[in-house]
Amino acid sequence: MTSTSSLPRYTIAVSALNATDSPGPGVAVIRALRESPDFTVRIIGLSYEALEPGIYLHELVDKTYQIPYPGAGPAALLERLIYIQEREALDLIIPNFDAELPNFIRLAPQLAELGIRTFLPTLAQLEVRDKRQLRAFGETHGLLVPTGLLLHRADEVAKAGAALGYPVVVKGKFYDAVVAHTLEQAQKAFHQLQAAWGLPVIAQQFVQGREINIAGLGDGTGQLISAVPMRKLYITDKGKAWAGITLEDPALLELARQFVAATKWRGGFELELMRAPTDELYCMEINPRFPAWVYLTAAAGQNQPAALVRLALGEVVAPFEGYAVGRMFIRYAWDLITDNTEFHQISAFGEL
């Protein structure tokens, strides 16, 4: 057994600490990192809002800094990261929000000069799996993707509903989806999603079936390092998995391999799939980062966040083989108690 004192220690910044009912992946990523047998970590949280629960989970997050919203652009983010770097000497940043990835990808060279590693897809890779391009990507690479239409104006909703039929799935540019059974519901969803995430909103053909997700990690050369498929057992009204179970299905692993080989994906990803009653696998979305349930990969024997750290550090990481099938996660709500002074501290000074 290796003593933890003999292991290397890395300072790693992680974003998406919003472990709420529509959770970001940050807390799950941190849990997985803390269980690595290869290194120990000091975790720096990167937050956007003062009530992200991860900020107050001191057993997981050593210190948190607020960072500017993605809309502020890369220059504002860089300025903040330089400030953080002067105090924390980060080895690595793992950003976990779709919306923040373009800024971090653009800044990767400057961050490298500061001594901060990242392990991210390229902007081109980010683009090909975008919801707006996914169908074309599927056609090129032999993946079944439901028909989708981009909606730029409210009066386009009716036309899309007529073309795709009801129910229709109305999706935000970055997050959220609503299954609309009528034109009125679709129009309401359009306005809500436009207000939350901007235009375009996406209307997508509804596919009935079982929701299966795959958490994966690509090494950037086309090699799949890890893939763990999970079936959602309990789904919240926001469409999030509240419980799930790992599956054994070579077809799912082959799909992940196919995606990574086609894109030479670099970093974590999630394939959101729907298995139709006919057994066909539809690719509903491809998320360019680890999912919120990624801790299950560590629990099943393929610690994807820890493997990403090793890849980012330039180590050669062999593809994982095998994982525990039938391993389940059940998310739970827990009232975290803190003092208002902590809330004041992060709100007023942007650090805790």
Binding site: R231, I245, L247, D249
Partner: protein
């Protein structure tokens, strides 16, 4: 009739399909039959075993057998 190779059974009588993530609660007799199917015993041998072990009419066994097979089929547990 063959049970899928990767079907798992537990001592509590649950049958687990790792390809779909489905778990099914089986009663004692169904669990016993699934266990025998896992051992690749032929249908005739399993039925003979059941007739010898339980007080059951052959016609009743045939009916219950067909019901169980239909359920195993519908739950995607057979090859």
């Amino acid at each position: 009739m063959r049970l899928k190779k990767n079907i798992a059974t537990s001592e509590t009588g649950f049958v687990f399909n790792p390809a779909t993530g489905d778990s099914f609660a089986a009663n004692g007799l169904a669990a016993e039959i699934v266990e025998l199917l896992k051992q690749d015993l032929p249908e005739a041998a399993i039925k003979a075993h059941l007739l010898a072990r339980y007080e059951v009419e052959p016609t009743r066994l045939e009916k219950d057998w067909d019901d169980l097979v239909a359920q195993l089929h519908s739950h995607n547990l057979l090859d």
